[in-house]
Amino acid sequence: MNLLTLLLALPLAGFLIALLLPRSSPHASRTWALGISLLTFVVSLALPAMFDRGAAGNQFTLDVPWISTPEIHYHVAVDGVGLWLLLLSTFLTPICVLISWRSIQNRVKEFFAFLLLLEFGLIGVFIAQDLFLFYVFWEVSLVPMYFLVGIWGHERRIYAAVKFFLFTMAGSVLMLAAIIYVYNRAGTFSYPVLLDMLQSGRLSFAPQEQLYLFLAFFIAFAIKVPIFPLHTWLPDAHVEAPTAGSVMLASVMLKMGTYGILHFCLPLFPSASRRCAPWIVVLAIIGIIYGALVSMVQPNMKKLVAYSSVSHLGFVILGIFSFTQLGLDGAVYQMLNHGISTGALFVLVGLLYERRHSLEIKDYGGVSTVAPWLATVFLITTLASIGLPTLNNFVGEFLVLQGAALANYTWAVYAAIGVILSACYMLWLYQRVFYGEAGEQVRSHLPDMNLREWAAVVPLVVMMVWMGVYSQSFLPPVSKTTARVLSQAQVNVPFQVQLRPNTEVARAR
């Protein structure tokens, strides 16, 4: 059986069986979700083990017809980027199960079922090689998240869930239209075939056509990332979501956007991407600085982390649109880093919330005194998040900024301001929550971490150190894939020629 199909089948089967479990025994649901997500993770470990690191193309391919007219295939495969994002999803799902163990007390069965469905959708997004199939998974992943926020969220959960849904839908409709348009032009949904046609010149988009198509895809992805100024759904969704929802949303779902841009926008519409790059870079840099500044003044921990995501994701976009090998590698690495470190931040904020039942920073202070290990882990995560060398984010940020500097030094100058600001908002947060005198409420409500919480947190810390110290375990397959994307983005279909009409031709004569 195809490994990727197995990886899709496991959470899907898990979801279906979870629905059949009796409502009366929530513990069965928890155990089942943990078991099946752990199994999925273990199976997914076979991917990097069997992945041919020397090859740039898709691997573990399975391509079978699904619907005959229009011709839609069940076509799955991974490249060096999708590989790690898939692993990130399977890695984080069991952690999410663990941290929801006690905090979710109503409709337990449905919660864990939705979590598994979410995993199914996310895995699908990163392996689908058929545009229509991609769109299906894209939407499938949206639904469970909508319910996770809407049912198990905090006070303003309905508002946040609807806002999240509408923002994303607005983008996906554009994308769907573009996908159908591309199908009408090319006669296929198969992504590899499309790329092949573009390479060989059998398919080409006129400049204006390419621009509109690019924008349709890009806006859908940009909302998901989110790129400034399309980000306002994110703070609301994060604040209202339950911890597991915030973790999956920040760590994996945001990467659907950046993955989409990298995987689809650049190779499909190379000249439009290049034409728009300076504008997008400006938005990315605004996002970096703006997100950091707004983050600095947030009174709510989750909102602070949410705005910091806007800032961090700005680096990813900057890296992608620097069109340099270093920038692209850094961008992909930063996607994974953000998944680990911001995921960990949300986990830890969730642990604080579970104890003190507040997300307001002012309700804390002196937590280090009562929960020193929690404070230590939070500190390590904070340091990872602000890009301390030997922890993961540094490698990504360095590559992105270096790539940007190679493309345009000024970009790096502005973007690097974000690195200063990240230290400001994170350390200030840390000081107000963990340092100082412990008040009565903090003293009586904040025990240190228990074994289950350790089990959820230690893997994240291990990954931060591993990815920071020995990036060679992860980067080579990424480099192979990004190098291919870069070469695909070199295919300058008519655009350049049209900008300088007839000069080439005239010279030839």
Binding site: K163, L166, F167, P229, H231, T232, W233, Y290, L293, V294, M296, V297, Q298, Q325, L326, D329, G330, G366, S368, T369, P372, L383, L388, P389, T390, V395, F398, L399, L401, Q402, A405, L406, Y409, A412, V413, A416, I417, V419, I420, A423, C424, L427, W428, Q431, F434, Y435, G436, E437, A438, V469, Y470, S471, Q472, L475, P476, S479, A483
Partner: protein, 618 residues
Amino acid sequence: MQLWLIPLLPFAGFLINGLFGRRFSKGVVNVFAIGSVVLSFAWVLKTILGLGDLTSAHVEHYFTWIQSGTFNIGCDFAVDRLTAVMLLVVTGVGSLIHIYAIGYMAHEHGPHHGGYYRFFAYLNLFMFFMLVLVLGANFLVLFVGWEGVGLCSYLLIGFYFDKKFATDAGNKAFIVNRIGDFGFALAMFYIVKTFGSLDFATVFQKAPTAPESALTLIGLLLMVGAAGKSAQIPLYVWLPDAMAGPTPVSALIHAATMVTAGVYMTARSFAIYSHAPAALDVIAIIGVATAFFAATIGIAQNDIKKVFAYSTVSQLGYMFLGVGSHAVSAGIYHLVTHAFFKALLFLGSGSVIHALSGEQDLRQMGGLRSKIPWTFWTMMCAAVAISGIPPFAGFFSKDAILVAAYAHAPWMYWLGTLTAGITAFYVFRAMFMAFFGDYRGHEHHPHESPPVMMIPLVILAALSLAGGYLFKVPQFLAPMFPLAEAPENFTLVAVSVGAGVAGILLAYVMYVAQPGMADSLASGMKGLYTLVYNKYFVDEIYDATVVNPLVGGSRILLWRFADVGIIDGIANGIGSRARDIGGILRRLQSGNIRSYAAWVLFGGVLVIVAMGMAGGVR
């Protein structure tokens, strides 16, 4: 040669104490904490002896850290003569301070039980990063150490984390350093853009062929980083506040080792600077200006540690003046001697504070000479050393810098000499206020510190007295930084020594012979005194011009107005417009069959009319 053992030993100490120290007795914590550092020192000695004369760098490659395309950064360590000097200072002085800390921290627990192990774990972690910093064979590995020591500095400044002023000081240190690191990082990006590599060997070999504008830009950006780490104008503001940490930390991190990292880095990059005279000039000017400026602030401080903190800022300025005047080896020389006497001054003041159960205010001291004689005499050794009195350690190095400064620009020599006089004045002012006159404090039984604290003091005192003579750093570094052929100018030496003696005498007159004189002078020049006493209000100016506008602007303008008001307002506006339209359309869905029928009829007619107008059905 297993260079990796040098930093890994303290790191092991950090891991063991950090993970299990809570359950250890103090004795066990000491074994791992001090043992690891002393072993590391021993390994440094063995390495340096084993490497022969070290005329070229000994490089070791461990693994590839980051690779992207053809760009490659290895985890590489290297030792050359400059590194050897730094290694000896860091592990040697570091060992002494670790031993001293056993005594100093014996009664200190930090905010909750277990502060003792935490303190030593952080201190060991610091040693690890500092050693990585000096061993790194490329800019990025150096940067690992660079940021890492900043982290440890942050943790140790905020060691008493229940005190807001301590954690504020920690944040300030980290963030101001980040501003410096911003420059450092940009310098690295430009180095890669210019040379395609960050390896010292490659970059410095190619440096002579690069355009001067690029080298100047790189040099200036690196200087921004150095100014942050080594507390130079305009980024020096964090160092005085950093004294909130325990005194051994002030001695080790904020005097002897970490703050000299900037000097080390500029010396290391001298191949770039030597082709960028403009950047070098900027270093010299910032150095001499900082030396003078900080020394003047030192005059009016009453906290014994604050005096020495501003003194450190000032002395670091001298080191930059040396580097900027093409006398790199003199700068490093001063780095070494400064490590001896400034560590001693801090450890000595720690001993004073220890004797007085935590009192740091000079006005609450006095007459301690007879009560804690060992502390007094050892600190006196440091005081004469820093004042540049021959033949003690500071004389040699300061003199080498000032002579080079004269060759570079005479006004820098004169300002540096004036600063030497001020230095001697404020150091002896502190000494006289603490140890002479009558005791003014509240602690009834000032007691001498235990031997575990006194032995490091005595060793450092010996080094402060004889270190300049014993360790001829410029000669040792001559293969890397050729000695300038400056003629022996006895006048210059005599003038600078004279300035030091004059400073001591003035302090004696004002604080011992005629004790009332200082106060009447201060009230006589009230405006100037207030200005200096309040450190020229630099912190207040930074708060008013940078910090407050940034925070306030972000809160009101960016968050409340732009984000919530405009951007989200537009999104919600579209939402509610859609709902309004929906509300109108909803009226069509009345649920009334007759009205539906009417609409169907209306629609049908409309279709027919439209078809008719379009030309009918063919």
